[in-house]
């Protein structure tokens, strides 16, 4: 039994490594060949995990072979448009200004229910609001609403708005994030001073503390209400 436990831990880390090697894209937006790979990996990993007579190498070798195949396929699809189309397919317009493209819908084996469900997921409940809808190769629907139904932008409304910047997390759950405070040009003492200036008490009671390039910050103590604040100190531009 102890063998199975150790094997499970080992294979878990190997599968984790395999997914890390294949990149983050694998998890969220799977192309057909990536989906196939995921299904095979799930199956392959369980065999040496449960069967003690099967060497762990019998699980590792096919996993690594699949990583190699995946890398190669990815490289080929990146360099050749035609191979990419062959393996991953190409985006298809399912709704155009005339309405649902019936041929495209049937080609993709979709029903009107599927299209409506996908539209609702995108936040559109009425097909008359849609100018174009494109079925992407990863099976997700991209929707372009008609001009009357698209949300107005600040530019269209002639409004001026300040640019927003990525906030840097300085403290998370009572712990100073060293890399981030260097990035923001702070040191530990300055962070603690900042907490006190904003009405916080001890560092360990800070749930979250962020600042952005314009000196805008957010502080929330554990089990207390969060508050926004403005510091005079700006984060160096090259940091973000």
């Amino acid at each position: 039994m102890l063998t199975i436990i150790f094997r499970s831990i080992l294979i878990y880390f190997i599968v984790l490594l395999v997914y890390r090697l294949m990149g983050k894209r694998q998890i969220g937006q799977m192309q057909p060949f990536e989906l196939v790979l995921t299904l095979i990996i799930a199956d392959l990993a369980t065999i040496p995990m449960a069967e003690v007579s099967v060497p762990v190498l019998h699980g590792i070798v096919p996993l690594l072979t699949l990583v190699v195949v995946h890398f190669m396929l990815t490289l080929i699809t990146m360099t050749s448009q035609s191979v990419s189309k062959l393996i991953s397919g190409k985006p298809t317009i399912v709704i155009n200004p005339k309405g649902i493209d019936y041929k495209a819908m049937k080609k993709l084996s979709l029903t009107t229910d599927d299209i409506f469900a996908a539209l609702r997921e995108c936040g559109y409940f009425n097909i008359s609001q849609i100018q174009y809808a494109i079925m992407e190769t990863n099976g997700k629907l991209s929707v372009m609403p008609k001009a009357d139904f698209s949300p107005p932008t600040n530019k269209e409304l002639n409004l001026s708005a300040d640019e927003s910047f990525l906030p840097i997390i300085l403290v998370s759950e009572g712990k100073i994030l060293k890399e981030n405070i260097v990035l923001a040009g702070y040191d530990n003492q300055q962070v603690e001073d900042l907490i006190k200036q904003q009405g916080g008490d001890k560092l360990k009671n800070v749930l979250i503390l962020t600042v952005d390039k314009m000196g805008q910050g957010y502080l929330q103590m554990i089990e207390k209400e969060g508050k926004c604040f403005q510091t005079k100190r700006l984060v160096p531009h090259e940091s973000l």
Binding site: L21, L57, H58, V61, L64, V67, L75
Partner: protein
Amino acid sequence: MRAFNLINLFLIILLLTGICLAEELTVTSSLRDVQDRCLEIVQIMDEKDSLKDMDIVLAVDNLEYNWNKNESALCCMVNHKNIQEIGQEISKMKMYVANDDRDAFKVSLEALKLYCHSYLHFMGANLHNIL
């Protein structure tokens, strides 16, 4: 990122090649060793009247010792179930030697040669195995 992938790719291919070579060398040398020792036992057996002869006892003991030594390395690379019959047959052979059961000993010896031969065929990368 692409360079990183290529380095990973190269390292993984290198690792896979190393594993394949190690498997090929270990399995082939271990099974060939068993086959050679079986042939040697056959030759000795032809010259002797009794299985209890010291030369045969020593040859079978050597066969068992070497197999036990190689088996642990083989278990890292091949399914243990596929090679456990070899160990079982060697144990039977020792029993037949003790009982001087010549016919059963010959059967075990042939079975042993067959297991080695079939596993050597089974592990090679050829079209039959791939399909």
